[in-house]
Amino acid sequence: MTLHDKPAAIPEMISATDDDIDDSRYVSGLPGPLGVIDVVIARIEAVLLALGVLLMALNTMANVVGRYLLGESIFFSEELNQALIILITFAGISYAARHGRHIRMSAFFDAAPFPLRKTMMVAIAAITAAMMFLLSWYSFDYLMAQMGRGRLLPALQIPQWWIIVWVPLGFLLTGLQYALTAIKNLIDRDVWLSTSVIEGYDDSTEEEV
């Protein structure tokens, strides 16, 4: 990688808290009632992310406490963590798409002239959206197949499909975010990384609209 990116941020400015996303300031790129729905979904995703992580910590510790203090392991602990990590991942990819946080290698992109960047961003967002919709469809298909097979989680003894219901939904919502980003780039004069974030890697140049 010979091309240089933007210069590093000044060290003093770097701290974890600067990166926090304030959900109350999130404004949907969608008009009217669709926008209201979008804001509600954004908020639900955020809450699921936080709850998922907290529950995972509690669940894992409860297993330790159970093993030492009660002499009994929590059998479903591992399965619950599996359910939570799937929930976190698929609520999170949509949330990340919404806030332009997916990892990408932007060195060549950033070096391109503005019109090319804009064209590339439309193509990137559209193709990414297509991939997400495709995976949403086939994960729905997979979900249906799992329902039909009736496989149980061995410890919890509940159907395995319960823990993967988020998967098609997560891909669908992520696909919608990228589709909207493609549209936003077509109708607006700026280059948008997501519907709410103007392109640029460095947080100091990002604006939540």
Partner: protein, 428 residues
């Protein structure tokens, strides 16, 4: 087909697609080509989920969470102040301490990604403040974390031991020598780097200052106690130690130091969830891609054509090193071990190589591969955690990769680096 897939993945990556797309596209093209259409994409979804599901990966979000709480509060700073009170006056002291911390933490946690987060998270801002260049800092953290693979417990060595029928205890001991050698090399490089770039040193702390720093760090010293004592003491699995660190960090920052309120707790948990998702979707996409490689038996096809059976021991060791290095650049290390070890097993036996040496070399290659562009999992973890551009994260890595490759070549010619301790311990 293989080359078309690898080629299109690299192009998509360079154009600036979200990194999950090149991996998913590679998998998608593979599935369509293998099954003549979209008919088996259910299995692609299955493999994405199989990639994020392993129980041992839970340690990653837990350490992200704990490190984030510690960094936002006071725990991390108090611990680093303590270290600085002892090494701040030494040229490159902070960098050497960081490398050492990565080695120790990686050794016990067994997870390179968790190490990038838990050690790199708090130490990177301090290194930047101390005047180190960010590319150097990122590369140091990523590569030092990989020593985790070599120092026990190491999941890569366990898998190798099972697949190849080699003693896992011997492998564990054989990994220590090369692991420490790498740490020494990284420390020397850090010293030279600090010297050449005039990274300033701090005035030497007095013993009174050191005692004061120690007192301030008393509570946070519980973390190494939980991690090292808890894991080696047989109380926690690494994942459980991570969760214990989360609760201890919450206790310190919310009750003892009162640095964090419920609202900040929510923000921290959400931010952890976001980073986890961004990293895990890549792990899942990588698993789907690995499946295609494995199912199509691509490694067998490539390796079948190079005549490994007629090579001598050095040729075999070099071929193994190169195969694992390249494999791990694209595919999950565990899968690479599972696929390649059986392919090489007969020739390893026939030329009479020590399987413990081969296992150590393979583990080292796997470690290097996961820190190497384009798709090393430590690289995308670092991008997600530190929010720095891809190019900047990888720019500083070449010197480290050269040192690591140097150690692998040294291992081939001087197997005693790995086998000395093993022979001592097992009286061979």
């Amino acid at each position: 087909m293989a080359y078309a897939i690898f080629g299109s993945m690299i192009v998509l990556l360079l154009i600036g697609f979200p990194m999950m797309i090149p991996l998913l596209m590679g998998a998608l093209i593979g599935f369509i080509a293998l099954f003549g259409g979209f008919g088996q994409l259910d299995t692609m979804v299955q493999q994405i989920l199989a990639g994020i599901r392993p129980a041992s990966l839970i340690a990653v979000p837990m350490f992200i969470f704990a490190a984030d709480i510690m960094t936002r509060g006071q725990s991390a700073n108090r611990l680093i102040d303590l270290v600085m009170a002892f090494v701040g006056h030494i040229r490159g002291g902070l960098a050497i301490s960081t490398a050492t911390a990565c080695t120790l933490f990686g050794a016990v946690s067994g997870s390179t990604q968790a190490t990038v987060v838990a050690v790199g998270g708090p130490l990177r801002p301090r290194m930047l403040k101390a005047g180190y260049n960010d590319s150097f800092v990122l590369a140091l953290i990523i590569n030092a974390s990989d020593i985790a693979f070599l120092i026990p417990p190491s999941i890569g060595m366990i898998i190798y031991g099972v697949v190849s029928g080699t003693s896992i205890s011997e492998l564990f001991i054989a990994g220590i020598g090369p692991g420490l050698l790498i740490l020494v090399l990284f420390s020397i490089y850090s010293y030279i780097y600090a010297l050449r770039n005039n990274v300033p040193t701090e005035p030497k702390a007095s013993w009174a200052e050191r005692v004061a720093a120690l007192r301030r760090a008393l509570w946070p010293l519980g973390f190494p106690l939980i991690i090292v004592g808890g894991i080696y003491g047989g109380i926690f699995s690494p994942t459980e130690a991570a969760a214990a660190c989360v609760l201890y960090a919450l206790f310190l920052e919310m009750v003892v130091f009162r640095e964090m309120n419920l609202r900040q707790l929510y923000q921290t948990a959400k931010s952890t969830g976001l980073i986890t998702a961004v990293v895990f979707i890549l792990v899942g996409a990588g698993a789907a891609f690995s499946y295609v490689i494995s199912f199509a038996q691509i490694p067998q096809a490539i390796l079948g054509g190079i005549g490994i059976d007629s090579m001598g021991p050095y040729g075999v060791l070099f071929t193994i090193s190169i195969a694992f290095f390249i494999g791990c650049m694209f595919v999950d290390p565990i899968v690479v071990i599972l696929i390649l070890v059986p392919i090489f097993a007969p020739v390893v036996n026939s030329v009479g190589l020590d399987p413990v040496l081969v296992g150590t070399i393979i583990t080292l290659q796997v470690a290097i591969g996961s820190a190497t562009p384009p798709f090393g999992c430590d690289i995308f973890t670092a991008i997600a955690i530190f929010k720095r551009p891809y190019a900047e994260v990888v720019r500083g890595t070449p010197p480290f990769i050269i040192m690591l490759l140097g150690v692998s070549v040294a291992l081939i010619f001087f197997p005693q680096i790995a086998l000395f301790l093993r022979d001592l311990a097992f009286a061979k």
